[in-house]
Amino acid sequence: MEKVITRNFGKANSHRLEVYLQNKGYEAARRAITQMTPVQVIDEIKKSNLRGLGGAGFPTGNKWGFIPKANPKPKYLVINGDEGEPGTFKDRYILEQDPHALLEGIIVTCYAIGSHKAYVYIRGEYVKSLQTLQGVVDEAYKQGFLGKGIMGTTFDIDVVVHPGAGAYICGEETALLESLEGKKGFPRLKPPFPAVAGLFGCPTVINNVETVTCVPPIILNGAEWFAKLGSGKNGGNRIFCVSGHVNKPGIYELPNGTTLREIIYEHAGGIPNGRKLKAVIPGGISAPVLTADEIDVKMDFDSLKAIGSMAGSGGIIVMDETTDMVWAAMIVARFFAQESCGQCTPCREGSGWVYRNIKKLYHGTARPHDLANLPGIVNNIGGNTICAFGDAVMMSVGSYVSKFRSEFEHKIKERVCQI
């Protein structure tokens, strides 16, 4: 299978400019700037069916098209490298193994949306990624790939590498903008959408690292080629991150639409010790959990949505038959309780309440109403908050309770028996 996003991974010094240039490096940027109009670039990306790979799956070309042309304010591109969705680690590989592919994607994207400044926001824990990318940006300035009149054209572009400081919520695009402006990461009310009033109140596109890295190959090989790699309206390949109970945890670049069964059993080497599968999180911890009999689903945004889950960030977490699903739900609920930013009351109070209830269930100190109340609590968080974090609590935690209800009920029965 043809590798697109990971084509340079594993080469010696794959992060270095001279290595990147050996394989048509920066040709897409040159072609876009010298032979295409910004509208043509946007149309090409629309036709490619490239979708946002940070989690939302929004069509990338459409997002770029929302930038108002008549607005006299400067326009910004912000790259979301605040990879924090549990189970996801693909952007770290891109940043460390092929940062020039990201930079080239940034140049093409900025050209398409009429921006001359991009910020790359990388989570603060990724010290090595931050250092690698800063080194690459410095080198690109020296060699004329960034700065004034890049590559002998009249196009100017500046790129700033910006460190986060440890907050899951800053992966939410408007929280990320707040954080980038030097504030705590509280998501903003929308509208106005970032395309109209984003960073410093100016029109802004926010794209995930992997999404933008897909852009140069689309310009070089054409939208149709990319669209055909994927399935339906989900163009191209994506990097699936597999972890948990598998023999070969790691990243796997595969076409959108590959089945979950194939990813777990063929690519990630199946489950250790001959154990059976019990459950899988298909797209980061926010995605509703799937049971073992749901793994023939095609891994793309539309197919997963159709069965009530989501493709999200491509983070697949596998749980074998020994996993206590009340315990698993408790870990998920604890994550949300820890990471709720605290801005909206239903989420701030509700996420902690959900965690405490499940903890009681797990430790055998719950009463029947603690279980009976859970669906009501999560459903009152979802839909009642500024950002999608509250919906994630509802959908993910709710799915453990509904799909593995007998295990939750068993915890109550065990307790009654003990009394």
Partner: protein
């Protein structure tokens, strides 16, 4: 007080941004890099430099997990406790570190050598259970690996 060298560093940093305040996070990282923590004095200094209220700096410092208001140990274990790591034994690792160093999560040993933090997903689930040892990622954790790191520090 901010030294003149450090002020120059801050000038370079703020020059990258359209608004000075946007340099707050990198500026706080730079201060913590030098002092190991962010003191109330440092908050006041940086607020004055950026021309923003001190309370604004303080709320940012207290919002983000990576900023410390107390000195951490020379050897700081930040162990991930989220799903992928939990499935591969993070609880045992956290318990083990706590037991041999006599530490609860969030604490530092009296001699200032070791700190233990329990954190959410570090984005390195393929090497679960994983932790940050100071700034470095250490994955596929075992008790032996922990012992080695402790021995090196002692």
């Amino acid at each position: 007080m901010l030294t003149s060298d450090f002020l120059q560093e801050l000038d370079k940093l703020t020059a990258k941004y359209e608004k000075k305040q946007a340099a707050l996070l990198p500026a706080l990282h730079a201060i913590q890099e030098k002092q190991g923590l962010i003191t109330p004095q440092a908050e006041a200094d940086i607020a004055q430099y950026l021309g923003i209220p001190v309370v604004h700096v303080h709320e940012v410092v207290s919002f983000y997990h990576l900023f410390h208001q107390t000195q951490k140990g020379k050897c700081h274990f930040s162990v991930c406790q989220t799903t992928s790591c939990a499935l591969r034994g993070a609880e045992d690792i956290i318990e083990y570190i706590g037991k041999i160093l006599d530490l609860k999560p969030g604490e530092t040993t009296a001699d200032g050598k070791f700190s233990l933090s329990v954190v959410e997903c570090l984005g390195a689930c393929e090497m679960a259970p994983v932790m940050q040892h100071n700034k470095d990622y250490v994955g596929c954790l075992t008790k032996e690996k922990i012992n080695e790191l402790i021995k090196k520090t002692v």
